[in-house]
Amino acid sequence: MSNVLKIILQRLLLGLLTLFVVSVVIFAAVNMLPGDFAEVILGQGATPDAVAAIRRDLGLDQPLVLRYFHWLGGAVQGDLGTSFAQANFASFVGEGAAKGATVMQQIAPRFENTMFLAGVTALIAVPFAVGLGILAALYRNTAFDKGANVFALSSISSPEFFLAYVLILFLAVLNPILPSLSNIYDGMGLGERIEKTLLPALTLTLVVTAHMMRMTRAAIINLLASPYIEMARLKGMKPMHVIVRHALPNALAPIINVIALNLAYLITGVVVVEVVFVYPGIGQLFVDAVKNRDIPVVQACCLIFAAAYILLNLLADILSILSNPRLRHPK
């Protein structure tokens, strides 16, 4: 087990380094976009005086490097700062009205919503994809196998917004079964919340299924040629039992890896789906923030996305170690 702990520590340190690099890249990239917060927020009404006043209030007139280190100084102490929108608002009306509006407080409810969507999707997609993969392995090279593959590959090959519109067309417009608008809010009952979340969850399910299903299928088929599977078959076990009891446990490592990667995608890749379904998650907040050049919010969102990838990858590695007795008990 000490081996596992060492790996976790190592990977966490590397993860921190990655986050640092990500923050530098994002900071530079957002600053390279034309226009800044002051110009965007004032729009057509941007007089040089007003632009200068906002830049002064937000510290946008400071050199880039200085601004970055100022932000980093706060970030390492767990303070991701105040969004430009809030800081600008506070400069209008005084701190009193705008207090309690840090980036963290702004992001927290949105992140919860995104996690809820990811959770609902995972509950649907993981059993669906793994089950489909097992069945495809069982009935490999039959019409079922080919049909499942065509379905999964064509849905992963279509852009997300297209899948979303197809689902809206069939499940909301032509047959009004599900709402096309996923405007969930605080205080909504769980049942209604799930109903509103179903269409985006189904869209995401279509996107992530192919990867997981095909990995499950490949990993299992790979094992079916092993001598111990042949042994199981020879002793007269049913094919389904062979696969679920003997092949699957040994195929878990690559499957878990792929599931973890796809779960990370559910958190970071939801931007388009959230916009199409008007789902108030972190993706929509991110789009708004980029549009406004609200750098503190963009930074925080990117760090969350990056952290999700790093942690889920780490989790995948740990789980694949734990699922493999040879790695669990090194000699």
């Binding site: 927020i41 941007a46 007003a50 009004p176 096309s180 608008l181 108030p280």
Partner: protein, 517 residues
């Protein structure tokens, strides 16, 4: 009911409009209380808040002035001016001193009584030290605000302005409770028909009808209002088609037929003041030559732009920003598309051909780049070579507009002629996007100042008419078209016969003026 003294009625420039307003366009016997209005609106942002100084798009104007807050005056659906928190007003002979009588018995949502202090303190917000309010130009000409009584205020202006009561209807100029303004902005406390129940910026707003209000029987029919932020065009259309919202603003013309095919939905279209423009900097060659400007005006096919860019949802304009929602719109013939005439004016300018850059971006208006390309094609036979420069939408207003010599732009228009002209055509003002000044037309600038202080409506009509003609013939802004306000409403919701045309969504007052069918 608005009570206006006979004297002030005769004096103010708005006399004609006020008379019309007393007829009350809403047929109150039809409208009934009850129900919940759910509207999908674009123009929402996570930076939205209850500070009127920052309001600029339909989501916040609908929930700010359109529901939670009131202003001193209100532009009624028919374009006339009626009192909101003011009951009536009176000007001195020179239109420099304005006395407003305030409504009695009004309370804020937190129980505070409304009075003169609230008006004065709320207006001062816009001119406070370091204020970034877009409405500062409206308030800064007030040199003195006097509290004459608990329910009477007097404003002294630096120079006479006959439209002053109209300016007070601006959606930035919300009235907050004095002494509690920070709190009111944080929590959304106003005197409007709907109190703020929950507000999630960029996502959703819910309001609840106050129990009793001075507009009872005239407006505020719904029990509850929900605005959902749907910035995506397709998502907004889908939400209406699937019945999840009762109305949406700004429909996408390309998929308009889908809405038309649905019998449960009606499209509401009103011609207003919103106009798309191509301003030239008249202080820069070659646009400093009036003949070049005339040549360019003859080189544009306005009809074609209305058909292809607005899909017919608009009207040809005559290079004047005064539109259907204004009082004194002159009946001018637009300059016709005529390549020969354009050639003629080029010759007058001493040129055989002309090569100019036209900067455009979708930030100016939807289809601006296409419009520029159509312009390029129509101007070519006249020997005018327009080079269309596609600019990035980001930073367009800061880096291109009024910076590049010729570009695409838009204006949503203003309630009064003077307001429009003094925002964009007065010499030296910040948004004068053609750098139009006395060098171009001394007559125009003189008329602008003179008309502002004139209270006699017939004289004003004459002066504003002449100014519009000057702009058509000599002006530096090509205004090919007015774009209609187009929105879609479910048949579950009833709307008055007359829909406001100053802004989209019934002047952003759909929560007040509409009711459940």
């Amino acid at each position: 009911m608005t009570s206006i003294s006979r004297r002030s009625l005769l004096r103010t420039g708005a006399a004609a409009g006020v008379l019309a307003a007393t007829g009350l366009p809403i047929r109150a016997q039809e409208a009934k209380r009850g129900g919940r209005l759910v509207v999908g609106l674009s123009g929402a942002n996570t930076s939205d808040n209850w500070d009127g100084r920052t309001h600029s798009d339909i989501f916040m104007t609908s929930s700010g002035q359109g529901a939670v807050f009131d202003s001193l005056t209100e532009v009624a659906a028919d374009g006339s001016l009626v009192g909101e928190l003011a009951t009536d007003w009176e000007a001195s002979e020179d239109a420099k001193t304005w006395t407003f009588n305030l409504r009695k018995g009004v309370t804020f949502h937190n129980g505070k009584k409304f009075g003169a202090d609230d008006v004065i303190e709320s207006l001062q917000l816009h001119v406070a030290e370091g204020s970034k309010s877009s409405a500062a130009p409206l308030v800064s000409p007030i040199t003195e605000m006097k509290k004459l009584g608990e329910h009477q205020v007097q404003f002294v202006l630096a120079e006479g302005n006959a439209d002053f009561p109209y300016l007070m209807s601006d959606y930035h100029l919300l009235i907050y409770p004095a002494g509690q303004i920070e709190e009111a902005i944080a929590q959304g406390i106003g005197t409007g028909l709907y109190r703020n129940v929950s507000f999630d910026p960029g996502v959703r707003w819910v309001g609840q009808r106050v129990e009793s209000h001075y507009k009872d029987g005239q407006a505020g029919w719904f029990d509850e209002i929900e605005f959902i932020a749907i910035n995506d065009n397709t998502a907004r259309m889908n939400a209406l088609l699937t019945g999840q919202v009762d109305a949406i603003n700004r429909i996408d013309f390309k998929t308009e037929s889908l809405l038309k095919a649905n019998p449960a939905i009606r499209i509401q279209e009103v011609p207003g003041n919103q106009h798309y423009t191509f301003p030239m900097l008249t202080n820069i060659a070659p646009f400093d030559d009036v003949n070049v400007r005339r040549a360019l005006k003859h080189g544009i096919n306005r009809e074609e732009l209305v058909q292809k860019i607005l899909f017919g949802h608009g009207k040809v304009a005559a290079d004047s920003p005064i539109g259907a929602a204004n009082q004194y719109m002159a009946d001018l013939d637009p300059i016709p598309y005529d390549p020969d005439k354009a050639k003629f004016y080029l010759k007058e300018a001493g040129l055989d051909s002309l090569s100019v850059d036209l900067s455009a971006s979708s930030a100016a208006f939807e289809g601006a780049v296409d419009a520029a390309q159509l312009y390029q094609a129509s101007a070519a036979p006249a020997g005018i070579d327009i080079n269309v420069v596609q600019e990035p939408a980001d930073g367009y207003w800061s880096n291109v507009w009024i910076k590049k010599p010729w570009c695409a732009s838009y204006w949503s228009g203003r309630a009064t002629e003077d307001w429009m002209f003094s925002s964009a055509y007065q010499e030296g003002v910040a948004w004068n996007d053609s750098q139009w000044g006395t060098d171009d037309s001394e007559r125009f600038q003189n008329l602008l100042v003179e008309a502002r202080a004139t209270l006699d409506p017939s004289k004003r009509r004459e002066m504003y008419g002449e100014m519009q003609q000057i702009l058509r013939d000599d002006g530096g802004v090509i205004i090919p078209m007015f774009a209609n306000w187009v929105q879609a409403v479910s048949n579950k919701v009833a709307t008055p016969d007359t829909i406001g045309n100053l802004w989209q969504m019934d002047n952003a007052r759909h929560a007040e003026r509409w009711w459940m069918a």
